[in-house]
């Protein structure tokens, strides 16, 4: 029999591979393969409808990158990543620890914090539009409490549009990442905390010495996911600001959407989406490498 030639470890690897096969097949057929088709089409002048096209090399990429709005859109996306990812993760982690420590009521807080996620992004954006509008709830509130001087056109000013949008995303997303942190916290053996308490460790020490190192995998997951969340974010700015004023709140993913469905320039959309995908892979692989090293160091 041939199998006798295989070592125990090799046999194990083959079985493991078979386990992954059904999932890989579905992902390949229904996701990766169509993606690759699009990748191919991004080097052509396909008009989005017909069946014929010619190869145009890197022309679509060149057009997209040299477009006058491209720089602004990249800057916006990077701004959101740099501000949003750390702020969101710190808030979500602190809240997760608080929920974890608040006893039975924790379940209620968790549900409330997760509530926004149950609504579709379109509805969320409509709500926040009503809040941020010039005559909207926020300004009405500021005027009512005598802070009229702070009232402004939150979504119409270059200085406030991205902070306002970041706030909405954090409001929306915090419950989501909180759940992942909680799942992580739930894998930390309670005994560790108990013995730490016996040794008289303070709460801050507990957070940094026990909690964070032990939930390192969830930190990794969350940082990567929240970065991806920003890179693929398009529906919120689409309803909230349509990327405006000008291009000041337009994200890369929204830019792809406009190319594809408003300007009907399919190949530009595909080229930009390919760039977006490469950008995403680059950033997340850097993050993964850095975080993996820290994860291993803290073990």
């Amino acid at each position: 029999m041939e199998r006798r030639g295989l070592t125990e470890a090799q046999r194990r690897q083959i079985v493991c591979f078979l386990f992954t096969l059904p999932a890989l097949a579905v992902v390949f057929v229904f996701f990766l393969f169509p993606m690759l088709r699009s990748l191919v089409l991004s080097f052509t002048n396909w008009d989005g409808i017909g069946h014929d096209f010619q190869w145009v090399g890197l022309k679509n990429f060149a057009t997209v990158v040299t477009d006058s709005s491209f720089r602004q859109v990249v800057v916006n996306t990077l701004y959101l990543i740099v501000i949003y990812v750390p702020v969101l993760n710190v808030i979500a982690l602190l809240l997760a620890v608080a929920v974890y420590n608040s006893g039975r009521a924790g379940n209620i807080y968790k549900s409330m914090l997760f509530f926004p996620n149950l609504l579709s992004m379109t509805v969320i954006a409509l709500i926040w539009k009503i809040i941020y509008n010039n005559g909207g709830i926020l300004n009405q509130f500021l005027k009512a409490v005598g802070l009229k001087i702070l009232a402004r056109d939150w979504l119409g000013l270059p200085q406030t549009v991205l902070p306002a949008m970041s706030f909405t995303i954090i409001w929306f997303a915090v419950g989501y990442y909180l759940l992942i942190y909680l799942a992580g916290l739930n894998t930390v053996p309670v005994e560790l905390y108990e013995s730490a308490e016996v040794e008289g460790v303070t709460r801050t020490q507990k957070l940094f010495r026990i909690t964070i190192p032990l939930i390192a995998p969830s930190v990794t997951i969350n940082i990567v996911l929240s970065t991806i969340g920003i890179i693929t974010l398009f529906d919120l700015p689409f309803v909230l600001t349509r990327g405006g004023p000008g291009y000041l709140s337009e994200t890369l993913a929204l830019h792809v959407y406009f190319y594809a469905f408003v300007q009907l320039q399919t190949t530009y959309a595909l080229a930009l989406a390919v760039l977006l995908g490469m950008f995403a892979i680059l950033i997340t692989s850097i993050q993964l490498r850095l975080l993996r090293r820290r994860e291993e160091a803290s073990r």
Binding site: A98, G175, A183
Partner: protein
């Protein structure tokens, strides 16, 4: 003073945490109150008075109108079938694959894993047009299976990413001990790992189930027959920008309530699986 003495140091800290959490949670939910509030207002009031906490006239008419306009029972069925099929595929294929990757210690599978993680980042729009061609070729247009398979293809990388992350935190000794007892890999997955991953599965179901329930991107392309369409598709059709008063606010808010209510119930039910210490206890046992 007296109460302070009655409460120990720990209780006082816990009280502080609770007060803070109550305030934060309420602030977070406040904007949502607006939806609920508006769902029961008459149309004129929705248009005129945004900053009203309680409607002066409450009516169920919006919800009822949205219910009929959506043909709710039919759309609800469509949404549920698609959600259940997708979740079954995601969790079953996802745990299997993650387990394979976490156990194999193979270079090849690690590479595959990195590739999968990278794929989470790819924008779905990129796959859209070729996907329609394929679905048509397979005869999967306007079918529950076709839609569920597209969701699975799109979200499996995410699910595998989460499961693998957590499986790697489970001590290997557990599986090795199982091997001594004569457990095959598949049996250790079923009897050791899956029970430990209950809380993670609950999380995955929420984190991907909710977006599937609310999704427009996939259903807009895979379901073109109105008899197949889902709840959010109908809700979306109430939202317009160029129409008379633009959006039919009464229908949108009324509809949002009945579209979100089922998923809220499911969420509250799944809470049970996040019970603290589920994993810790199992490791001990």
């Amino acid at each position: 003073m007296k109460s302070a003495r009655l409460l120990g140091h720990r209780q006082r800290a816990r009280l502080g945490v609770n007060v803070a959490m109550i305030i934060i949670s309420l602030l977070l939910v406040l904007p949502l109150w607006y939806v609920l509030n508006n769902a029961f207002k008459v149309e004129q009031e929705i248009l005129r008075q945004p900053l009203v906490l309680l409607p002066s006239t409450a009516t169920l008419a919006n919800v009822v109108r949205a219910f009929t306009a959506m043909n709710y029972p039919l759309r609800f069925m469509n949404s549920v079938v698609i959600l259940v099929l997708s979740c079954v595929l995601l969790v079953s294929l996802g745990t299997l694959a993650a387990f394979g990757i976490a156990m194999a210690r193979s270079r090849f599978l690690d590479r595959v894993y990195t590739l999968l993680v990278a794929m989470i980042t790819l924008p779905f729009q990129l796959a859209m047009v070729p996907l329609i061609f394929m679905l048509k070729g397979f005869g999967l247009m306007n079918t529950y299976w076709g839609t569920a398979l597209v969701y699975s293809g799109w979200f499996l990388p995410f699910v595998i990413f989460i499961y693998t992350g957590f499986m790697r935190t489970i001590p290997r000794e557990l599986e090795e001990a199982g091997r001594v007892d004569g457990c095959g890999l598949f049996r250790s997955l079923l009897s050791i790992y899956i029970p430990l991953l209950k809380s993670v599965t609950g999380t995955v179901l929420i984190l991907r189930g909710v977006p599937i329930w609310n999704d427009l991107l996939v259903s807009l392309i895979t379901l073109s027959r109105s008899t197949m369409s889902t709840l959010p598709l109908k809700l979306y059709s109430f939202i317009g920008t160029y129409g008379s008063a633009g959006t039919r606010w009464t229908l949108v808010f009324g509809g949002t309530v009945i579209v979100s209510a089922p998923i809220l119930l499911v969420f509250l039910f799944l809470q049970r699986y996040f019970v603290r210490g589920a994993v810790a206890g199992a490791v001990k046992g």
